[in-house]
Homo-oligomer: 335 residues x 2
Amino acid sequence: MPPTHTTILTGDRPTGPLHLGHFVGSLRNRVAYQHDYRQFIMLADAQALTDNMDDPAKVHRNVIEVALDYLAVGVDPARSTVFIQSQLPELAELTFYYLNLVTVARLERNPTVKEEIRLRGFERDIPAGFLCYPASQAADITAFKATLVPVGEDQIPMIEQTNEIVRRFNRIAGRDVLVEATALVPPVGRLPGIDGKAKMSKSLGNTINLGASPDEIRAAVKKIYTDPLHLRVEDPGHLEGNVAFTYLDAFDPDQAGLAELKAHYVRGGVADSLVKRRLEACLQESLAPIRERRQQLAQDRGHILQVLRQGTERAREAAARTLDEVKAVLGLRYF
Amino acid sequence: MPPTHTTILTGDRPTGPLHLGHFVGSLRNRVAYQHDYRQFIMLADAQALTDNMDDPAKVHRNVIEVALDYLAVGVDPARSTVFIQSQLPELAELTFYYLNLVTVARLERNPTVKEEIRLRGFERDIPAGFLCYPASQAADITAFKATLVPVGEDQIPMIEQTNEIVRRFNRIAGRDVLVEATALVPPVGRLPGIDGKAKMSKSLGNTINLGASPDEIRAAVKKIYTDPLHLRVEDPGHLEGNVAFTYLDAFDPDQAGLAELKAHYVRGGVADSLVKRRLEACLQESLAPIRERRQQLAQDRGHILQVLRQGTERAREAAARTLDEVKAVLGLRYF
């Protein structure tokens, strides 16, 4: 890992294969960050269980799938520490103690938690682990003394929550044991689903997976949401909310050509089918090497496990150092 | 430890030295149980922190004090496994997963938690760790597959909560991985404070500590609550709520003589000072050997730490076996 004072913690809940939304929103950035920063990438299986206790096998299976996605897009295990959350008991221990540093009322006011509770339809039957996950996230972030945490805009309150815990703990310690983190909101916003919905999500069935086959890519592009008012080729088209163009913005290597196409589309005279052909070509080209590397890597499960074992060991050492400091402050060293 | 299918988990929050209430309510029983049952005795330092984050040094100090109390009353480390909760990361891990098996609403309905929240005046500012402690207690109990948990009547809902978690987990597993526990409510009720209040408690200043000096015992007995209506020696006295007699019930080795004294007291003609002299003699006699053994043991802090280290290692092995089974069910074994 590069020597640096900036440490990033990032990761994913392994509940399904990663898709283009992940690629644009985070994976691409990680591949870049790993050259300049110390980067920990967490497969958050324990966190995924907070609302998947009835299907733990799904989470287990997807740990390997997501790890494949990471390596396929170019995450380099020599530069990034890829690890499995549940294999670090230190994170559960830190969570346990941080829960004493946050009130129930504060957790219930957390806008991110509120929204996620609404999305999942939990109402009053929230699993306690779900309400408590900001403390768990604080454990994940502080264990590595991460200073940068790439998140979507909606996750900023989580980072604030972490920093509140950091400050409360440091007040108890009487010195700066833990480190505050800064939310790093990526410049490129979230990629919408192929149906035009704001969020690309497996459960909505509006994704294109990173490992999608050429046929799957073709079928998805065919269905992609464009401009419902653009009925005839000669009609002027609209770019706002036009997912085909949003995707082209993210994937077209010829951005000058794309600008011309957009102007033409807005004037009228460009068929949606032409836009889609261009998009399909871009996606096929972008995803082919990822898919191939992914297929290759998937042949050697032993290698993937080896990468995860090594990353997990390295992450554990870092987390154990922090836990040791935390337990010293709390008088929990006896022997 | 004796070979048995009955396993007891018990313990104390190390927030102060133990007193006569602990002795009568639990310590005496543990000394008896250890001959017949597999017994784990937990110094619940991590649990004590849930509402003592601002004074962790107090908790640390009292771990050793309470361990001294245990050994002084006759807990035998060869028969009972005495361990420190915070030194078993397995318990934090189990807690972490059990939090997914209980809803926030259910925790808020827990009568024991409700009452403790009221007692501590937390209102809406309950630390999350405090609300969640039934899950932590479930971790403590199930980690050792304890089948008997000695508790006061008011703690029965906690055991029910544990068993709910056990049943939910076993349903996920599809077999009985965890074991349900039974609350063991001791026949002798709670010893009142010397001021007549229902609960003997350090914060109320109405205790007699196990390590009390002869002078402290004398002073406490002098202040002890008897019968406020018993103004003249010749007046009939009342036994109900008369703490001097409650203590004699618990400590007088001559129960026949005590019965006579009671009859006489009720008829009239027995001075409170006589009752108190008898009580003081009993307490001095009961506590002298405990105090002496305690003083002796306190000379050799290394020995106490050695006992705790060995107990903690033994406890950890048991907890690790359970955690391993739990993680296997949750698909959290990878390597």
